[in-house]
């Protein structure tokens, strides 16, 4: 605590240069979607991480953040929609990781069925925002009803969190993991069984409306790009709220109660923390993040089927949380970015490169060799390496502790610190 404060090096210039150079490289030189192009784009995205990690001029930090998020990424996205779609997917998974981080990282409840809440949100908009509603109830919501349903999804998913949580939260550790794994599958199986013609079973629901679609459509041939920008803005807003909410809960009596439960359930209870209620709050909060992102996912894909919500998704989100660092808010976002870009960008584009090499005869590879099929293997290896060399994750949790300095010790003034 009382170590001498090292003079912090200022990284303003390198970080700004890094962001600018990668942006110009991507925007003017590597415009395409090949492996190299995508890697340059990911490098550009990573400057956001450097921006918040390295000590630098506060003013420039904010300006650069705004420039990257609201000018850089949209410009590149406009040039090439696949780029911005990657960012949208990263943000969707980041919100899922943030939500699961509350459950697993803060409260210490291993939940392997988290994707169920994502499914609840997705089906909510899929049903009310498509012809499905007309067939079922004779009416359907207009496309901008999406915004209403997105908010409703927060509550509905939270409700599902409580509903699923109540019976299972009496269990601990491995038992809890197994039961949540089962309940997660139950939701998917229900969707597959098409109760009352609600979910259209394994066929899935298609032609789901997109918010502001009439407006973007009116912009002509470029309309689909604007549609991506719309989603981009929506996910950014949601992720911003998710980060603030997570942060504030963590820094409150509720967050302390979660940490206490994670550390020692019996002691937490003996200090007056109601176990079931506090765990349910964690479950419901985590679920609500997944719920709202589910509606966005449904609208963005404009198609939803049960296969999107299998157990691998839950495991994938858990992998993001663990990779990023259990209990770390920044880690959850970074973990989501790494895993998602690995899945959606690095491996697929690498596969294409290998294919090209094979076809041109430069590389003699057996036809069975397909990089994208090694996805699980690769992040299996990454996770194992992480466990050995950096078991606390990419960005280890550094829970902000409440610190009272000497001058204020008597008055009990509060100050955040690391």
């Amino acid at each position: 605590m009382s170590q001498p404060v090292k003079p912090k090096r200022d990284f303003t210039i390198p970080v700004v240069m890094f962001a600018l150079i990668t942006f110009f490289l991507k925007f003017f030189v590597f415009k395409g979607i090949t492996f190299i192009d995508s890697m340059i784009f990911l490098t550009f995205i990573s400057s956001l991480y450097f921006l918040i990690t390295f000590p630098m001029n506060k003013y420039l930090q904010i300006v650069m953040g705004i420039l990257i998020l609201f000018v850089g990424i949209p410009l590149i996205g406009f040039q090439n929609t696949s780029s911005i779609n990657v960012v949208i997917d990263i943000a969707i998974y980041a919100a899922l990781a943030l939500g699961l981080n509350i459950v697993v990282g803060f409260a210490g409840l291993l939940d392997l069925g988290y994707v169920a809440f994502f499914a609840v949100g997705a089906y909510l908009w899929a049903i009310f925002g498509s012809n499905q509603a007309t067939e079922l109830f004779g009416w359907q919501l207009p496309e901008n009803g999406f915004f209403f349903i997105a908010l409703v999804a927060v509550l509905v998913a939270a409700m599902f969190g409580v509903l699923l949580g109540l019976p299972v939260l009496r269990l601990k550790g491995d038992y809890l993991a197994i039961v949540t794994l089962g309940l997660g599958e139950v939701i998917r199986v229900i969707a597959n069984n098409n109760p009352g013609g609600l979910t259209k079973g394994s066929v899935g629901i298609d032609s789901i409306q997109q918010p502001l679609h009439t407006f973007t459509n009116s912009l002509g041939a470029e309309g689909y790009k604007w549609q991506s920008i719309v989603f981009y803005v929506i996910v950014l807003a949601v992720i911003a709220v998710a980060i603030v909410v997570t942060n504030r809960l963590d820094q409150s009596r509720i967050g302390r109660a979660w940490t206490a439960i994670r550390e020692d359930e019996i002691a937490a209870q003996a200090m007056g923390i109601p176990l079931v209620a506090t765990k349910l709050v964690a479950f419901a909060t985590g679920a609500s993040f997944a719920g709202i992102m589910g509606t966005i996912f449904a609208a963005k894909q404009s198609f939803v089927d049960p296969a999107s919500f299998d157990v691998n998704q839950s495991i994938g989100v858990l992998a993001m949380v663990v990779l990023g660092g259990l209990g770390s808010i920044r880690g959850a976002v970074v973990g989501a970015a790494v895993v998602t870009s690995l899945n959606l960008v690095v491996l697929p584009t690498l596969a294409i490169e290998f294919n090209n090499l094979r076809q041109s005869g430069a590389l003699n590879l057996p036809p069975q060799f397909e990089v994208s099929k090694y996805q699980r293997l690769i992040y299996g290896i990454i996770l194992i390496v992480m466990m050995i060399y950096r078991s606390q994750g990419l960005v280890p949790a550094s829970r902000k502790h409440i610190e009272v300095d000497d001058a204020h010790a008597g008055k009990g003034a509060m100050q955040g610190g690391d």
Partner: protein, 272 residues
């Protein structure tokens, strides 16, 4: 009576861990519960604090029954406790540990925490103020920003007491507060326990193995053996009770001078 336990019973399978134990604790008393290992002392504590539900008997606190309440509800009624094997939240700082104890006494709601309402800010500030007061009380205020796991043993025990006090209890149950302490630390703890009662107006019930502690600070001692109460009374009377000596040292030892050699001269009878 602040705490009135009547014929409390706890059965684990075929084992009667606590067999119809009756205990009355008047306000502002320091009461010790002693007994050989496995006598059911901690089980008895766990019944009072709601971790176990009794299989028989009644437990009244402050005039109303606390049987069937959850541990957190018992805390809300005003009973706090510490543990035989220290159970601090190691990843939290000393101050944060104490602030967890304020949980039942603060009413910040979910929405307050998200919106940072006035209620949230007031609650946080008062938790910190109260927490710091308690840390000063146990002499840990200088260590407020250290992780609880990094404290030395004796300080961890004191922190556990401060954390329990943070729940604003009327009564505190201390489970072997001096276990593993050196004579110096034991003396300090004894002093602290007296201050709990005298300055904090808190009733103390303690489980203790160190007879020097038991004999010098207790108003009254209850002895358990195999789950049954075998003696109760003033420390001096209990110490010379043949049943107690037999329970501790086995039959035949009753004739000896058990307890005396462990007690400081002139302190027989216990200080009150």
């Amino acid at each position: 009576m602040l705490l009135d336990v009547n014929a409390a019973r706890k059965i684990f399978g075929g084992l009667v861990a606590v067999n119809d134990v009756t205990l009355q604790v008047p306000e502002k008393a320091i009461i010790s519960v002693i007994g050989p290992n496995g006598a059911g002392k901690t089980t008895f504590f766990n019944m009072i604090t709601g971790i176990y539900q009794p299989d028989g008997g009644t437990i009244n606190f402050n005039g109303s029954s606390i049987v069937g309440l959850r541990p957190d509800q018992v805390v809300e009624r005003g009973i706090a406790r510490t543990f035989q094997n220290i159970r601090l939240f190691g990843a939290m700082t000393v101050l944060e540990n104490v602030m967890v104890g304020r949980h039942v006494r603060s009413n910040t709601r979910y929405i307050d925490a998200i919106l940072h309402t006035k209620r949230f800010r007031d609650d946080e500030a008062s938790s910190i103020t109260r927490g710091m007061d308690l840390l000063r009380f146990v002499g840990l205020d200088v260590k407020r920003n250290e992780l609880a796991a990094n404290l030395p043993y004796g300080e961890q025990r004191r922190l556990e007491i401060a954390r329990a006090l943070a729940t604003s209890p009327k009564m505190i149950l201390l489970d072997e507060p001096t276990a593993g302490m050196n004579p110096n630390e034991t003396e300090e703890t004894k002093h602290l326990i007296r201050r709990l009662r005298d300055e904090g107006n808190i009733t103390v019930v303690l489980i203790e193995h160190d007879m020097r502690v038991v004999m010098t600070i207790s108003d009254n001692v209850t002895v358990l053996d195999y789950g049954t109460k075998i003696a109760e009374g003033l420390p001096a009377a209990v110490r010379s009770n043949p049943k107690v000596i037999e329970a501790y040292l086995g039959a035949g030892a009753a004739a000896g001078n058990f307890g005396l050699e462990k007690t400081e001269p002139n302190s027989a009878g216990g200080a009150v």
